[in-house]
Each structure stands twice: as structure tokens, then as C-alpha cells.
């Protein structure tokens, strides 16, 4: 109970601090939300994206699940995506992974975790698709980081293929899709692919991902 109490305490302190500088702050945000970003990230507690990017309340629409998956059968994600794209008209959709991701690690190993193994099937697919490249990486840690990157790129591709994004693109180059990764070790966000706003850019993305197998 001590921990829970702390939440309310912190909350009161924060509100007090904010309203001291800007008394109208919360009232202003009670109206319509017009976020520019949809963030699709991992549920991991070490990725506090609002804090990391310094966005204010009302600026970012957020969806988080284990290992930042974009699966075309996930009604939760699709609802978030549809609402963000068609109603909130967000300009940017960001898929963000992070190193030391437990979900990715689980997908790479042989251990059974239960239900979550179903959820992670996509990552195992990605691993087998890039098996040759991954085998060539001797260092386990580097291989782990590479799978995190590949997972993000795969999810950006999945995102681009959803009818919601396809329909939106037919109307204009919006939303732009971005793939990023957060390095838990130093706190920096690293870009993997930026400004995917058409099927041509998706093809380029696939091409570069495939070519990187050689390195």
C-alpha cells in the first residue's frame, strides 16, 4: 500500500507544481485532443516515452503491448490506429522498440512462457526470415540488438500494409510512419527508418532491410 499511496502523493505534487506556473493548464486540455503522434511501443516499464520525448499531455496518442507488435488481427491495435488516423488525423505513427526487450529475448530462446509465446510468433518469423544474417553475427548481444531492430522494421511494414494506412495514403501522404529504437543503456532514441509515407517508400524499406543481410 505504501507504493500506491506514493502515486497519489506524487500526483498531487505534480498538479500543484504545474498549476503554480500555469493555472489553466489542465482545463485547456480537457477540450478536444489533437495529437500529432501515434506511438506504438513496448509495455516495458523502462520506456517512459512521454518523459523521454518531453511531450505535453494531449500531444501523443499511445498504444503499448509486449514487444511493440503490429498484428493485423489485433482489434485493440487496429481500433487505436483507425481512431488515430481517421478521427484524430495524426501526422506521424511511430513504432518504437527498445534494447533488452524481454519479449524479443523470449522469442529468440527455447524457454516456454505460456500464452505470451503465441503473441511473440511474429518475432520468431522475423528471426527465421533473417536466419543467415543473424547466424553470421557471433556476438550474442549484437545479435539480440539486431533482432530488436529487425522487429521494429517488420512492424513498420505490417503497419504500412494495414487497410487503414493504405486507404489514408490513397487520400494523401499521411500519416508518415517511423521506426525507432530506444537504447535503455544511454537513454537515446535512434532512428531506424523515417518518413515512410507511400508504398514506394515501403518497397525501399524492404530492399534496404534485405540488403543489410550482407553486412
Amino acid at each position: 500500500m505504501e507504493n500506491l499511496k506514493r502515486l497519489f502523493e506524487n500526483n498531487r505534487n505534480l498538479v500543484a507544481e504545474i498549476t503554480r506556473n500555469d493555472p489553466e493548464f489542465f482545463q485547456r486540455r480537457a477540450g478536444k485532443q489533437e495529437p500529432h503522434f501515434l506511438f506504438i511501443g513496448c509495455a516495458d516499464s523502462r520506456v517512459p516515452i512521454e518523459t523521454l520525448t518531453g511531450v505535453a499531455p494531449g500531444e501523443m496518442f499511445v498504444h503499448r503491448n509486449i514487444a511493440n507488435q503490429v498484428r493485423s488481427v489485433d482489434l485493440n491495435l487496429l481500433s487505436v490506429l483507425q481512431y488515430a488516423v481517421e478521427v484524430l488525423d495524426v501526422k506521424h505513427v511511430i513504432v518504437c522498440g527498445h534494447y533488452e526487450c524481454g519479449g524479443v529475448k523470449a522469442a529468440m530462446g527455447d524457454q516456454n512462457y505460456g500464452l505470451v509465446d503465441h503473441w511473440l510468433a511474429g518475432i520468431r518469423d522475423t528471426c527465421s526470415r533473417h536466419e543467415q544474417e543473424l547466424q553470421r553475427i557471433g556476438d550474442d548481444n549484437r545479435r539480440f540488438r539486431r533482432v530488436v531492430d529487425l522487429n521494429v522494421l517488420r512492424q513498420v511494414y505490417n503497419l504500412a500494409r494495414t487497410p487503414i494506412v493504405q486507404t489514408a495514403w490513397k487520400r494523401g501522404r499521411r500519416p508518415m510512419l517511423h521506426g525507432m529504437v530506444y537504447d535503455i543503456h544511454d537513454g537515446y532514441l535512434k532512428e531506424l527508418c523515417l518518413q515512410i509515407d507511400s508504398n514506394d517508400r515501403v518497397s525501399e524499406l524492404l530492399e534496404t532491410t534485405r540488403r543489410s543481410i550482407g553486412d
Binding site: K32, L88, R171
Partner: protein, 510 residues
């Protein structure tokens, strides 16, 4: 065909009986020889009836044209010169047929047509009341409020009621009673003996009875049908006048011909629509073929000394009412006019106008039945106001002016609807950050206002997407408005996105 004959032959007799005084009356009102009206009726029946595609419409001399005819004869100086214009007017109608102008008929709003029919009914009642009581000063078939004799419809009724001819009134009442009796009882099934015919025969009998007992109630010639009687063949032939084609060198002739051709075509198309509306089988008559038939009819009528003709509503209504099924009835009524003019003019001149007035009164009552008024009221004010406006305008002016007023009112309502109704549907949920609208298939000039209103309602910072990908047509003015707005939108911080809309290049600066 046997069933056709059984229904059409009796109907043709009724139409003939109604048509005869109308032909004479309209000729009188037109300032033309009386027989010109009969010729026009004959051609309208036989020639137009044969060529026309309409099963029920009757053609003949029209009250709606009398004003034009009177002034045309005065302008051209002679009746033969006018006949040349009638021939050319027929040519104008053939040309209109060639131009497929018949489609105009489809744009007469239904409320106006119904209003016209109802007002024709009222006119019949109002104009025939004087005839029914023996006040036969105005010509038969007048449809104008202000009559040639200086009276108006209402003052004429007033006069008539102060000078009732008891004989005429009795005949009219008896005829009317028989008509109602025939219509409302099993007697209706006597197809070979239609009510109107019974009414006429009764009228003739009553008047003969009056004269036999030398009653003061006996109706004189002025209250009876007056067909010119030829004593011999050469006199009969002299009733036919040949056109004077030297008039064609004068520009006025052509102007009159054009006016006649256009007005007669309009009146025909109106009558055609109205007659189709009365048809129990709801048959649709081909409009362009009708223009051809009318053109041919007018050319012939002009060539042999007849008045210009059009499709006419009263006779058509009487035709429908008498149970006609096919155009045989209209053709036969023409044949009967010929036979009557040649063989029994003396006999026909025994028919009291009061009997005919009773027939027209009853037809009028059916056209202007309160049931129709109630039905139109039930259709809402957008239908009722043009309907009522048509009736009032026709009653206080004349048919063509009244129709024009009615059409103007109806079109105003139609345009109002077009202007008011949005040309787009909002496809985004309420409160969406991006408001998304889908344009309808056709965006006309009239939709500009609703779109302009939508654009004008945008505030800085708002986002609107207009999806025109389903449009087939967007009027250029609407496109230009969107193009203009897009320029100022970016300045005002409005996010306007156009999907599937090709904007025209900006017009050159002045």
C-alpha cells in the same frame, strides 16, 4: 378492336358534341370565319388524331391561341395572309420535332399540371354557369378572366344570374340531373348511350316541346348551336379559304408563325402531359411524335382555311370522361364533325347551349373535385403552393400566363431545394479532428452555395478533407471557388485537403 369501337364510338359522339360549340366559339373569339373553327376541329381529329401517338388527347382550335390569332389577323390585314402564317407555324412545329424539343414536356412540374387541370375545371364551371342559365354573350371556350365583352368571369355570372332564361336553366338542370344519374347508377354501363348524349337529346326534346306549345321559354337561335349552313355545294366550298402566300415576303408573317408554332407546341405538350395524367391506364404519349402530328395538322389546317390547332384539355377531358380507350375516339370525332357540317347542320342547330354547358359543368366538377385539392394538400406545401398558385394565376389571367406563373413558382421551390440541400455527406464521426466530407455524384452550380457555406464555416486550425473521388461532374464555378478558397486557406491556417478533385488553373489576373 371490337372493344375499342364499343367504348370509342360513343365517346367520340360526346367529344364531337362538346367540340362543335367550342370550335365555333373559338372561331368567333378569334375574329375568323366560323367555319375555320370547324375545319381546325376536323383536321385536329382526323389528321392529328391519326398521326399522334396519344391514345386520348383531342386536338383542335384552342382558346389559348385566340389572343394571338386576333392580333395576328389585324397585323397581317387579312385572314388568308394569316393562314400562310399558320402553314409556316406547322413547319416550325415540324422543326421542333426535328430538334427533339418534346423533352420540354417532361419538365412541367406535376403540381402545375394538376393545378392546370383543376383550374380548367373551375373555369368550366364559372364560364359555363352563364351559358347554363342562357347568358350566351361570351363565346364558348373562353378561358380568360377578362372577357372580350368587357365582363370578367365573375361579373358575367352576376349578369347571368340577374337575367336567367328559365328555359335554358330548366334544360341545364335536367341535363345535369341526367348526367349525375348516369354517372352514379348502373346506367353507366350503357356504353352505347353515354350520359352526355342523353343530356343533349333531352335538351333538344325539351326545347322542341317548348316550341310546340309555343312557350315563351323556347330558346331562340342565340341560345342554340349555330353551325353555318350551306345551301349548295359551291356555298359549302366557299367556307374553305386558301392561304395567301404572298404574305411570306413580310417579316411579320414569320414572327407570327414562330410565336404560333412555339405557343401551340407548349400548349400541346401541356395538354399531352395533362391527358396522360388523366389516363386510367397511365399510358405515356411520345412527345416528339406529337409535335410532328401537330405540325402536319397545322400545315394542313392553314392550307384549307382552318384556325391553328393544339392539343386541347377540355375536349380531352371530356374524351377520357366519356370512356374513350384508344385514339379511334379522337379520329371519329373529326369524322363526325365533317359529316355534321356536310349533312345535318340544321339538325345540330337545335342543340341548346345549356345542355352542352351542363356537360362541361359536370366535366369541370370532376376536374376540380375537392378530393384533388385535399390530395394536393396532403402532399405538403412544396407541392401545394405551386398547385394553388397555378390555379389562382390561371383563374385571374389565362391559361398560358397562369401556367407560366405556376411553373415559375414550382421551379423556385425546386431550385430552393437544390440550393438548400447539401451536396455532400459528412463521413467522419462527429467531433473528429479531421472533418471529412464526400461530395455527391453530381455537384451542380446550384450546390455552390452549400459548399461555400461549408468552407466559410472553417476556422483557423481546422482540418477539412473534401473527397470528390465519387463525383462524375463538378461544375466549373464550384471548382473555381474551391481553388480560390484553397489559396486563402493556407494563409488562414486552414488545412484543406482535396481528394480526387482536379482544380482548374487559376484564371488570368485582370
Amino acid at each position: 378492336m371490337a372493344t375499342g369501337w364499343r367504348a370509342d364510338a360513343p365517346a367520340s359522339i360526346v367529344v364531337f358534341l362538346v367540340a362543335l360549340p367550342l370550335c365555333l366559339g373559338i372561331a368567333l373569339a378569334s375574329g375568323a370565319p366560323l367555319f375555320a373553327g370547324v375545319i381546325s376541329g376536323i383536321v385536329g381529329g382526323i389528321v392529328v388524331g391519326s398521326l399522334s401517338g396519344s391514345p386520348l388527347m383531342v386536338s383542335g382550335p384552342a382558346a389559348g391561341l385566340t389572343a394571338i390569332v386576333v392580333s395576328a389577323i389585324a397585323t397581317l390585314g387579312s385572314f388568308p395572309a394569316f393562314l400562310a402564317a399558320v402553314v409556316v407555324a406547322g413547319g416550325v412545329q415540324l422543326a421542333l420535332c426535328g430538334l427533339r424539343a418534346g423533352v420540354i414536356g417532361y419538365y412541367f412540374p406535376s403540381s402545375v399540371i394538376r393545378g392546370m387541370l383543376a383550374s380548367i375545371g373551375l373555369i368550366l364551371i364559372l364560364k359555363q354557369v352563364p351559358h347554363a342559365v342562357g347568358w350566351d354573350k361570351d363565346y364558348e371556350g373562353d378561358e380568360s378572366f377578362v372577357q372580350p365583352d368587357g365582363d370578367t368571369t365573375f361579373t358575367a355570372i352576376d349578369h347571368a344570374l340577374h337575367a336567367i332564361e328559365p328555359g335554358a336553366a330548366l334544360i341545364a338542370l335536367a341535363s345535369l340531373a341526367l348526367l349525375v344519374l348516369w354517372d352514379k347508377t348502373a346506367l353507366k354501363r350503357l356504353k352505347l348511350l353515354p350520359g352526355p348524349l342523353v343530356a343533349v337529346l333531352t335538351g333538344v326534346s325539351i326545347n322542341l316541346a317548348f316550341s310546340l306549345v309555343e312557350s315563351t321559354w323556347t330558346l331562340g337561335a342565340t341560345h342554340l348551336v349555330q353551325l353555318p349552313i350551306a345551301s349548295d355545294a359551291s356555298t359549302f366550298l366557299s367556307f374553305f379559304t386558301l392561304p395567301d402566300f404572298s404574305a411570306l415576303t413580310r417579316p411579320e408573317t414569320w414572327k407570327i408563325a414562330l410565336t404560333l408554332g412555339v405557343v401551340a407546341s407548349l400548349e400541346t405538350l401541356l395538354s399531352l402531359e395533362a391527358t396522360d395524367r388523366m389516363d386510367a391506364h397511365k399510358r405515356e404519349s411520345p412527345a416528339n411524335r406529337e409535335l410532328f402530328a401537330q405540325g402536319a395538322g397545322n400545315m394542313l389546317s392553314g392550307l384549307i382555311g382552318g384556325l391553328p390547332l393544339t392539343g386541347v384539355i377540355v375536349r380531352s377531358a371530356a374524351n377520357v370522361d366519356a370512356g374513350a380507350q384508344t385514339k379511334l375516339s379522337a379520329i371519329l370525332h373529326g369524322v363526325l364533325l365533317v359529316l355534321a357540317a356536310v349533312t345535318i347542320p340544321g339538325l345540330l342547330n337545335h342543340i341548346p347551349l345549356a345542355s352542352l354547358a351542363a356537360i362541361l359543368l359536370y366535366t369541370g366538377f370532376k376536374l376540380a373535385h375537392p378530393r384533388i385539392l385535399k390530395a394536393m394538400w396532403g402532399q405538403g406545401w412544396k407541392q401545394f403552393i405551386p398547385f394553388a398558385a397555378t390555379i389562382v394565376a390561371i383563374l385571374v389571367t389565362d391559361l398560358l400566363v397562369g401556367i407560366s406563373v405556376g411553373i415559375a413558382v414550382a421551379f423556385a421551390f425546386i431550385l430552393l431545394d437544390e440550393v438548400r440541400f447539401d451536396c455532400f455527406t459528412v463521413t467522419s464521426p462527429p467531433g473528429a479532428v479531421l472533418k471529412r466530407v464526400q461530395l455527391q455524384e453530381q455537384v451542380s452550380f446550384l450546390n455552390k452555395a452549400s459548399l461555400a457555406k461549408l468552407l466559410a464555416s472553417l476556422k483557423p486550425g481546422e482540418r477539412l478533407e473534401i473527397d470528390g473521388s465519387r463525383c462524375r461532374v463538378i461544375h466549373r464555378d464550384v471548382l473555381e471557388h474551391m481553388a480560390d478558397f484553397r489559396l486563402q486557406a493556407s494563409e488562414r491556417g486552414i488545412d484543406l485537403r482535396l481528394v480526387g478533385i482536379d482544380l482548374p488553373p487559376p484564371p488570368p489576373a485582370h
